[in-house]
Symmetry: C2
Amino acid sequence: MTFSLQTRRNTITQLKRTDLDVLIIGGGITGAGAALQSIASGAKTGLIDMGDFGSGTSSRSTKLVHGGIRYLKTFDVTVVADTVQERARIANVAPHIPHPAPMLMPIYQEPGATFDLFAAELAMDLYDRLANIQQGQYAHYMLDREAVLARIPNLAEQHLIGGGVYLDYINNDARLVIENIKEADELGAMVASHLEALEVIHADNGKAIGVKVHDHLSGEVFTIHAKILLNTTGPWADDLRHSEDQPLLRPTKGVHLVVDDSVLFVPQPIYFDSGLQDGRMIFVIPRAGKTYFGTTDTDYQGDLKHPTVAIDDVDYLLNVINIRFPEAQVSLSNIEASWAGLRPLLAPPTSNTHVDLQPLVDLIHQFEAGATTQSQVEALIADLAKKHAAPSTVSRGYEVISEPDGMLTIAGGKLTDYRKMAESAITVIRERLLTEHGVHTSQIDSTHLQVSGGHFDPSTVLDSLDYFARLAEDAGIPRTQAHQLAQRFGSNIGRVLRYAQSGAAPGLSLGETASLRYSVFEEMALTPVDYMLRRTNLILFHADTAENIAGPVVAEMARLLEWDDLETEAQLQRLLNVMSESALTTLKREHQ
Amino acid sequence: MTFSLQTRRNTITQLKRTDLDVLIIGGGITGAGAALQSIASGAKTGLIDMGDFGSGTSSRSTKLVHGGIRYLKTFDVTVVADTVQERARIANVAPHIPHPAPMLMPIYQEPGATFDLFAAELAMDLYDRLANIQQGQYAHYMLDREAVLARIPNLAEQHLIGGGVYLDYINNDARLVIENIKEADELGAMVASHLEALEVIHADNGKAIGVKVHDHLSGEVFTIHAKILLNTTGPWADDLRHSEDQPLLRPTKGVHLVVDDSVLFVPQPIYFDSGLQDGRMIFVIPRAGKTYFGTTDTDYQGDLKHPTVAIDDVDYLLNVINIRFPEAQVSLSNIEASWAGLRPLLAPPTSNTHVDLQPLVDLIHQFEAGATTQSQVEALIADLAKKHAAPSTVSRGYEVISEPDGMLTIAGGKLTDYRKMAESAITVIRERLLTEHGVHTSQIDSTHLQVSGGHFDPSTVLDSLDYFARLAEDAGIPRTQAHQLAQRFGSNIGRVLRYAQSGAAPGLSLGETASLRYSVFEEMALTPVDYMLRRTNLILFHADTAENIAGPVVAEMARLLEWDDLETEAQLQRLLNVMSESALTTLKREHQ
């Protein structure tokens, strides 16, 4: 089944003349999951995204299907139980994507530590029980100080008292999005990227009946009609809602940085307190010869479409890394790649946000006049902050909001919860399609709705991936790359390999050629950035390779997509800009 | 062994001419525990208190040896593990005092709930494991909604989803103090109440070598010398330290109210969220036909010597009670007794308290000028509050501080930790006595240092108390009161009963007579308030009895202590004032 620039043209024609049951606006992980469930339920489903699928937030995560052990610090056991259950379900429906990665948590005896050694052991024990992890390969275990240092010799020794290892999962966030999208497409959803929703269109009775959209490729503006609009635009959710409403979201920015593992080596993912007594924990994760670390979590008020890595973000993360790895001396110049994303966090509920600031204003005047003490002001701040619901505790939750005009908005949530969030929305949608429009849909079990590439037995993942890799080897692709392709494409490997039959493109290996052609024809990769940043993660974890093959990739895409020279040059330039931004070229020039 | 007004005179004579090894200033539970450990170690020990023992803070607690299950909300498992271990040790050294009381925690499904049902069950399971509570009589168990309501029919039904029962312990805080004090006295410590430390006296080299004290009974001012001063004055700790130092403490006030159980009946102690989304939990505890509830937790800046119950405290607690018991309609007029105490909470550490307020001042000016939004101000408040260490999380810890002049100060801590706090201080003291003064002391095991009244086998508490009660019955005291005396005095019952041999005092029962005379001669009860508020809790839980026997108690004490008419009248007046304050007479007049 092709899913490409060409099918996009047909889809747009269809979108123009169909009265959809459901139009999903936003093709991140939430929208992708919702599209799959919606079409599987039998609803006439469309999905649009203003850019590439997952390009906004869902390709910019820590790239873990994280169980959230830190929530045990606040004894949010229900959250952890739900999260680890969802994680298991993701591993079932997308068995080629998450893979288990035992996480080492070193414990330091220091003020503000999230867990001491005793609490860490209890937390991990509880975590295993919640995740139903039996004794054996993946059950947690504790390490003494010497054992931690034996594994990670470059770790800071001062105040280190031991550590524990518990099960977490590595994810490929962008591919989880595209595999959901592809499956939805396969089942008949009308899906198109680079279509931006400009505004919601209302009937005379005030009900939302469609959106005016702008096709970024053709420049055309047209209308898509649907019985129900589902707003899954993540951090942009407020833009599509009535501007006079209280904002639902309060996005924060999260930054990750990548260095070569010759600069900073860790043998397995590790997770520790920042050491700055700010209540934050940081991941350091090895990947394909690189090591990446993050994340930051700062209130964001800048341009939602283009969050960037600032020097403060770099300083913060390098500070943490150099505290925990004193000999590494990682500096800005070592950073090979980076990404900045926005978390679509729920703003504290309105009922809690109304804090009367007048007493503070009065007290500040007294403070300036010397009529009160700093500690009085601090006491009032602490009081006010208590009233102001703490975002860190409520923020990872999500809501499905029925807007006054009937649009549904999914706000908040974390990546691991995407299936559940989609399910919540689809439940409301099915009910409304039935009662308001007489449209019958089917109840489906989304925990068994396998995504594209994931159509194989989840209980035999390693064997299946080996088999897919062998198929690639049989097609003439060297072993290492064969395994990469098997992981990247899962059960679609057969379709990928058909693109190897016509031989390698100039400057590209046979495997890379097949991968690129498959992504262009069957994954709606429309630009070199789509391919090199999201269909693959070449820009993030293979910066050197990316530089080498940038030209050949652009050339091959120009051939496949019939670009003229002007377009080809523009696409190359855009790719180089993205690579340069990822490599923090400007920051390096300004701050070195 | 007598311990009375008469022995106090001898003790003061001794204190004047002895160079003590250790002088403990403050006879609350921390000082009392420290005195016992110090004298048991062989150090020449003195202890003074500016009022009665335990009168400041240690008689004003919730009267539980609380395991602190709420700390599991923040996964402070080490705190909980330590606390439940200490609790078991207290039950060993003072077996007549704490008694097990399974606590019912109803769970409501509401915003800001501390635990949901699932988390509550896990928390109680973890709590039992930490406390090493085996399956059986005292292991936790869960109740469904109907079972909770069957037990407590007047409990609010809305949003109630169930509950759990876990083991907690009822305490008699003031008696735990006096039994430690009496044991210390018995072992040879020089202990006197109503001796106020006015100031620390220093040698030429700046080292603290004693205190100037004021005898509140005689009016005399004199000096007590000691090699080491231990400041266990709780909320007053900063008063004795150098005034220019950063305050160690940030006291908060806790209020409890008592009503008759015909107004509010609970069959067992219960513990629930306030229902006000303020993150606080409230106890409701039955005791001797009364029900008391609390506590509040508010920053306190008033007179440290005399915290009082304010109308805001009453409003807060009645609000909570009437939310949870909608039919009870408890009002100010129902309150029979009350108490207000100060928690000696540690101030956040200096390094964290310095918050730069300038950005807030600037932003407030912008806010007033309309140049910024409320949410910007709130975001900054949240940020500042994060920097300002949250008192609720660190505040229950304690520190033993070596002051620049050599004085040791124990600051912070909770009642249940008194033995451990004392042990920490004594460890430092023994080391310093040896290295600085060549004084050898013995290592003792304070977990086996039984307090006065507790000299019996802790594994047979019920049998022993029955036996003590039988002795009282044999002395002619009716069964109910015999059991009260057994619980009050434990293994000292024989000494108590000797005071029954000369018959009842006018207006007092035989048991009350024996109890009063014992307290006067062997528990240093110097005033009717000492007896009726701390040696017994007549004013708190038997307000009607207290009113009836106030005159006879004063008359008998006047006889025993040889007061003239003027003194007798003054003591009666002081007692009536305390009873009136406990009954909130003034508040009732002003607000009804």
